[in-house]
Symmetry: C2
């Protein structure tokens, strides 16, 4: 059977979930839609943080402690760029930079980001399908009291200390999904919304015209894993951002956020008292251990999610 | 007095000569015109080999053994680029790559190569004036039996094994000299043609409209150091290229090549029997030790050259 499981993924959280998933279903059965709203030009090089985090994590070369970048990385180019007077708030390792140089060079030659990503998947020894949400340019901006800043500026440079007044998926309305995405959703065996930031990872993907409609239309089951556990996240600013945007920062808030298309919600045992309230929304709710602190739990979570779709 | 000494320079040979020169005259008195005909895009990055060799050599960070690139260099990015399937015939170190990333980024932002070079000179702690021959694009091609190839392909990839049928300074006729060059030549205290390859370093500079005419017009003395000593060069393909182009591969051949504008020729003691024949061309000839095998000889040579202009 040719039907694939589609996964919407941001960076670290999504990649960690996918790490479990590829241990229980063949990579060839996976169609991963990656967020590119956080893509940025650094030193003139095109950086796709979320696509790379998925690539590096699934191929086992990631710096597992920080969740992104390569393990055993060096920073020789970065040191020299800093010596030459460049800003150094976005630190790129040497192996990582090679990927950005390679990608930027191919983009300059006219290749599409989706073609380049496909090629990189092979170079990293993977057989999943990994597709950027779009080949067009979308950029996530954060509106703050002192103006509009890029997501990376908010996230890395300012360490998410600014109050979020609004989130803008700039130019999203002019884009279209990368080739294959709509078909994959409509014909999929199931769709998984990974435990990524709902506002700046998943919503960014949903901002691409046609993707949300395809999720609503597909006959496949759609399951989300809550990135919020007992009012907190493992990593990153999701809770703070949701509160500032007036969204309840809980698994219930996430379920409400996705209720347009969501069939099943996976929540942590710490949130079991939310099950009844989520099910009232018409969303089947599964309670399990969602903190992927070891590979056993990672695989068990993946199996539970796969069983729902 | 504000008059400067102008030096036309290619890569390694020119840089080594300049290393002596900055020890006997203040850097601020030097106006160096660098060859950019060998500039190339590698992995989408703009590489200016000759400008960088001058920068790295004069600032003391060069790999003295090979004559180009940084000392204590690493190749971590290159290794990864090769892993990603890129051609690896042009090896760029990490520190070196940082310079190319920086330069390419500034070019993309609309800065001129001359502005960027000026800024790099400062970052490398130098006070010489170093100016690319032009801000426009000129590319040296070598015509071979199997077609036209770029200079770097001829030089690095094919290790100058092809027979040179012709040398093409592509688009040179459409370019103009970088700001300040013509004025510097016309108002200079003296002009030095460094011991660089006459065909692919100096002639490339001379291919920029206006530069040769300024050399003919200037009242300043013009002195060249022969890169050919007893029919050989210290490094590189000058002798082979000259022979294949039908030019006598000797200090006499070099003097004849520059006779339009040349006042003084510096030749090696090994070539002392050529002195009379060069002087017959109306070119004053100084015989000295031109093999810069240690710093003492380098400085002595520089002093002798400076005394002639």
């Amino acid at each position: 059977m040719n039907k694939k499981i589609v996964v919407l993924s941001g960076g670290v959280g999504g990649a960690r979930f996918l790490e479990g998933l590829i241990q229980i279903i063949p990579q060839g059965k996976l169609f991963i839609i990656g967020n590119t709203g956080d893509d940025e030009q650094f030193y003139g090089l095109h950086v796709s943080p979320d696509l790379d985090t998925v690539l590096y994590t699934l191929s086992g070369v990631v710096n597992a402690k920080q969740g992104w970048g390569f393990k055993n990385e060096t920073y020789n180019v970065m040191q020299q760029l800093t010596n030459l007077g460049n800003n150094d708030w976005f630190k790129l390792g040497d192996k990582d930079l090679a990927v950005h140089i390679h990608r930027t060079n191919l983009l300059k030659q006219g290749k599409k980001l989706s073609e380049i990503t496909d090629e990189l998947v092979g170079k990293f020894g993977l057989t999943v399908k990994l597709v950027p949400m779009t080949d067009d340019s979308v950029k996530t901006f954060i509106k703050t009291a002192h103006g509009r800043i890029s997501f990376q500026e908010y996230f890395v440079k300012n360490r998410w200390q600014d109050e979020v007044l609004d989130i803008i998926y700039s130019s999203a309305e002019k884009t279209k999904p990368a080739p294959g995405i709509i078909d994959a959703i409509l014909s999929s065996k199931g769709v998984i919304i990974s435990p990524s930031n709902p506002l700046v990872s998943i919503d960014t993907i949903l901002s691409i015209p046609g993707i949300r409609a395809a999720l609503i239309k597909t006959k496949a089951k759609i399951t989300a894993i809550s990135p919020i556990i007992a009012g907190e996240t493992i990593k990153g600013p999701a809770v703070k951002m949701m509160k500032e945007m007036g969204i309840e920062a809980s698994a219930l808030g996430v379920a409400q956020h996705y209720r347009d298309f969501l069939d099943v919600m996976i929540i942590d045992t710490k949130d079991k008292e939310l099950k009844r309230r989520i099910e009232k929304l018409g969303i089947k709710t599964v309670v399990t251990n969602t903190i992927m602190k070891n590979n056993k739990i990672k695989k068990e979570l993946a199996q539970i999610v796969v069983n729902t779709v």
